[in-house]
Each structure stands twice: as structure tokens, then as C-alpha cells.
């Protein structure tokens, strides 16, 4: 499955299709010219339609904690990307990347993440892997 995702994910990237991640609403609120990378722990995985939100607690340099929300597609697209709700329980250490919001709030369009040394990419869920005929 992962081999198939890698093959099709790379194909999608080469076709420039991966940019169509906001299939349900316009992506006007995100700044796709910027990428943030944060390290923290999973607070909650809201596995919902039409969009899922991964909430991650980030400890700031002064010891305070900011909760960031990373938006991805809904459950069916995440399943196709090989990302299940049970993969990211609360407390899971994570390094995550996203396009931040333009208005300064701690929200972001989720690009990818590293969990337990493994890279996961929610946008691979748009890869079309055909059933065997």
C-alpha cells in the first residue's frame, strides 16, 4: 500500500494536482507562500467531514502552550492516504508542517508530518489507486 501511495503520490506531484487540497472550500484563508514547521504533541484528532483537524500542543520558549489546528480532508481521503484516527492518539510526539493562516491565528493547512520517524502525507489521499480488475 505504501509503495502504491509513494508511486501515485509522486505522480500527482509531478502533475501539479496536489495543490487541489481544499476540495470543499476555497483556500483563501491560508498563505500558501509560507510553510511553518512545529514540534509538539497531539492534543486531539478531530476525524470529521468535511474536514479533519489535528490539534497539536506546542510548548513556547516561555513555557506556555499554544494549541495549533492543522486542517486536512475528511476521513475517507485520510483513509486513502493511510492515515487512520487510531494512528494519532493524544500525547503522540509529532513534527508537522503546514501553510499558516493569513490572519495570525494558530491554524494551518496540513502539508505533512513525521511521527515515530515515519513521514505521513494527508494529501496522498487524492491519489487514485485502482482496484484489481
Amino acid at each position: 500500500m505504501m509503495k502504491q501511495l509513494l508511486k501515485h503520490g509522486l505522480f500527482l506531484a509531478s502533475m501539479g494536482i496536489v495543490g487541489a487540497v481544499h476540495a470543499h472550500h476555497s483556500g483563501a484563508m491560508f498563505d500558501d507562500t509560507k510553510v511553518i514547521e512545529l514540534t509538539g504533541v497531539v492534543k486531539e484528532f478531530q476525524y470529521t467531514n468535511p474536514h479533519s483537524w489535528l490539534l497539536v500542543d506546542i510548548t513556547n520558549s516561555d513555557g506556555s502552550v499554544t494549541t495549533w489546528g492543522f486542517e486536512a480532508e475528511g476521513p475517507s481521503t485520510l483513509m486513502r492516504a493511510g492515515i487512520r484516527k487510531g494512528d494519532l492518539p493524544p500525547g503522540t510526539p509529532i513534527t508537522i508542517r503546514g501553510n499558516p493562516m493569513k490572519d495570525g491565528r494558530s491554524g494551518s493547512a496540513w502539508i505533512d508530518a513525521v511521527v515515530n520517524g515515519k513521514t505521513i502525507n494527508p494529501r496522498n489521499g487524492f491519489a487514485v489507486i485502482p482496484a484489481a480488475e
Binding site: 487541489a20 476555497s26 468535511p50 489546528g69 486513502r80
Partner: protein
């Protein structure tokens, strides 16, 4: 005598030309293969022979001698077994999957071109837009054909159901021989009223009584509430459904718009894929507001204590008041 022979030859030639025209008027299913550009041109030209969608549909129905009535015994046959979980094969957010989403092959009227230009201008000036789908309104048909996410298709002898997970969207195609709802009883709706028939393993449909909409957001054209569509669905191999679409819209289209739509059955070896309920109100973080400049914004995150105090967006602060 010579003049009579010449006249006879001319008459025969005329008969042959009419017969040849009749032979090519019934356009067969054409494969999306190496000759697709030529095939697509023929299918576009075929649609242009007709004044409206109903004329095309009735022509196809008459040449199919009314179509074939299916029985439950037909259901396991490959042509009618559309089981499995599908998604759109490709095309992104372009109604014509052969081209990029910022292009169109539609032959637009002046009104249609103006409507599209307004969308281009909005995106150019603001960098974004507001899509009515953001609050879980249905995409409406024919935009339905361009939406991604999971699909299921169920063929029965008297009805075929075409389902998209997004907003729990189901189109029902009645194939039991019934007519459309009478005009005096009809009203416009997102998916309209669809009837159809089967011929040679293909499902031919006609859809009317639709609301206005857009083929997709971005720079895809708009359609009016006069839009009508003829589809011709076919299972072309073990995991692919394709459909000819001829869209007629006298407001926005100078000619019918032909495209070939396609859906691929997805690998699902562990039976994990399934269509889930789709409701924007299940998660507060999916609440989208339409900004005063015509673009989109999240209104009120549950992981931020006071959005208005943090956001630099005036619309967010106004929404909080």
C-alpha cells in the same frame, strides 16, 4: 434520354448522401484511446446536431427502439455490476477532465463569457472566493460530476443511484419508463429530475428542472436554471465507469458542451473505505463565513479561546460581535 440518366444518377447520389448522414447521426460509443482527440471532436459535433438536450435524448431513445428493460437476472453481468467504491479518475476541479482547471472548452455565449470573466476578476483582485459548498449546500448538477471524494453506484432494474459521499448526495435515475414530472408540477432543484433507459449495456439519461450554479469554483463557467444534460454511462473495463456528457444551456453556452467524465474503482483490500455522513455542523472548526470581499474565512475555532482578539481579519471580529 441522357438528361434523364443524369437526373437519375443525381437522385441516387442524393439518396446515398442522406443514408450516409443517417448512418453517422447515431454516434456509437467511442473509446478514450490514442484517437481520443478525433473521437471527442466527433462527439462534440454529434451533440451540435441537436437544438436541445431533449431532442438529443429522444433521438437516442428512438434509435435504440426505446431501450432494453433490465431484470434482476441481468444484475450480475459485468455491464450492470457497478459495485465497489469509486472516485473521479482525474481532472481535478476542471469540468473537462482533459484540460487544466483554469481553462475551458465550453463555447460560451457573451453572457457566459462575462460571467466567467467576473469570476476571474474576483480571484485576481482578492486572491480567493467563497464557495457555497462551504456550508454543505449541494454542488448541484452538472457540477456533481466534477466533485472528488468517494462514490458508489447502484444499478437496479428500475432505478440507478449515483452517490457521492460529499453532502450525502444521491442522484436517482428512473429507468422504469416513467416520464419527467409534468411541467405544471415541477420545480427546480439541485439534482433536478432524471429519467433514462438502457441500450447495449449503456445507461442513457436526461436531466432537467435544475437550479443555476457553476461547473466548479475558480474560473470554471456558470450554468443557468435552463441547463439540461444528456449522459451516456458505460462500464468500460473491470474498474472504470465512463460517461459522455452533453450539456445544453441557452444562457451560457452557444453550443452544447461535450465532455467525457470518468470514475475509477479504488483498491480497498482491507474493506476500510466507506462513505461517511457529511455535515458541516459536526465540527465547529469547519464553520466558514463569507467575507465582505467575496472570499472565505474560518469564523470561530474551538482551539482558540478568543478568535476576535487574535485575528487581524475584520470580518472575524465582526462575526464575533
Amino acid at each position: 434520354m441522357t438528361e434523364l440518366k443524369a437526373a437519375a444518377r443525381l437522385s441516387l447520389l442524393g439518396i446515398l448522401l442522406v443514408a450516409a448522414d443517417a448512418l453517422t447521426a447515431q454516434e456509437d460509443w467511442l473509446a478514450k484511446d490514442a484517437n481520443w482527440n478525433e473521437h471527442k471532436t466527433r462527439l462534440q459535433a454529434f451533440g451540435e446536431r441537436f437544438e436541445n438536450a431533449w431532442e438529443l435524448y429522444t433521438y437516442l431513445q428512438e434509435t435504440a427502439n426505446g431501450g432494453k428493460a433490465l431484470t434482476w437476472e441481468d444484475m450480475p453481468k459485468p455491464a450492470y455490476n457497478w459495485s465497489g467504491v469509486y472516485t473521479r479518475t482525474g481532472g481535478g476541479l476542471s469540468f473537462d477532465p482533459d484540460i487544466r482547471a483554469n481553462e475551458t472548452t465550453a463555447k460560451l455565449t457573451e453572457a457566459g463569457a462575462s460571467a466567467r470573466q467576473r469570476k476571474i476578476d474576483l480571484i485576481t483582485s482578492t486572491g480567493g472566493e467563497y464557495d457555497p459548498l462551504s456550508d454543505c449546500r449541494p454542488p448541484s448538477f452538472p457540477r456533481w460530476a466534477t466533485e472528488p471524494f468517494l462514490h458508489e453506484f447502484v444499478v437496479t432494474p428500475n432505478q440507478t443511484w449515483l452517490m457521492n459521499e460529499m453532502v450525502n448526495d444521491v442522484r436517482r435515475v428512473y429507468t422504469d419508463g416513467r416520464a419527467h414530472t409534468l411541467p405544471e408540477d415541477a420545480y427546480a432543484s439541485a439534482n433536478g429530475d432524471t429519467i433514462g433507459f438502457w441500450t447495449d449495456g449503456m445507461l442513457v439519461t436526461h436531466t432537467t428542472y435544475l437550479i443555476s450554479g457553476q461547473y466548479q469554483r475558480g474560473t470554471q463557467p456558470d450554468y443557468s436554471d435552463q441547463v439540461e444534460v444528456v449522459e451516456r454511462w458505460k462500464k468500460v473495463d473491470g474498474n472504470t465507469l465512463e460517461a459522455d456528457y452533453w450539456v445544453f444551456d441557452p444562457v451560457n453556452l452557444g453550443e452544447p458542451w461535450y465532455t467525457r467524465q470518468s470514475w475509477t474503482q479504488l483498491a480497498d483490500d482491507d474493506n476500510f473505505l466507506r462513505l461517511r455522513y457529511w455535515d458541516c455542523r459536526e465540527n465547529q472548526n469547519n464553520d466558514i463565513l463569507e467575507k465582505n470581499d467575496g472570499t472565505s474565512q474560518f469564523s470561530d475555532f474551538d482551539f482558540i479561546e478568543n478568535d476576535a482578539a487574535v485575528s487581524t481579519d475584520e470580518d472575524v471580529r465582526q462575526a464575533a460581535e
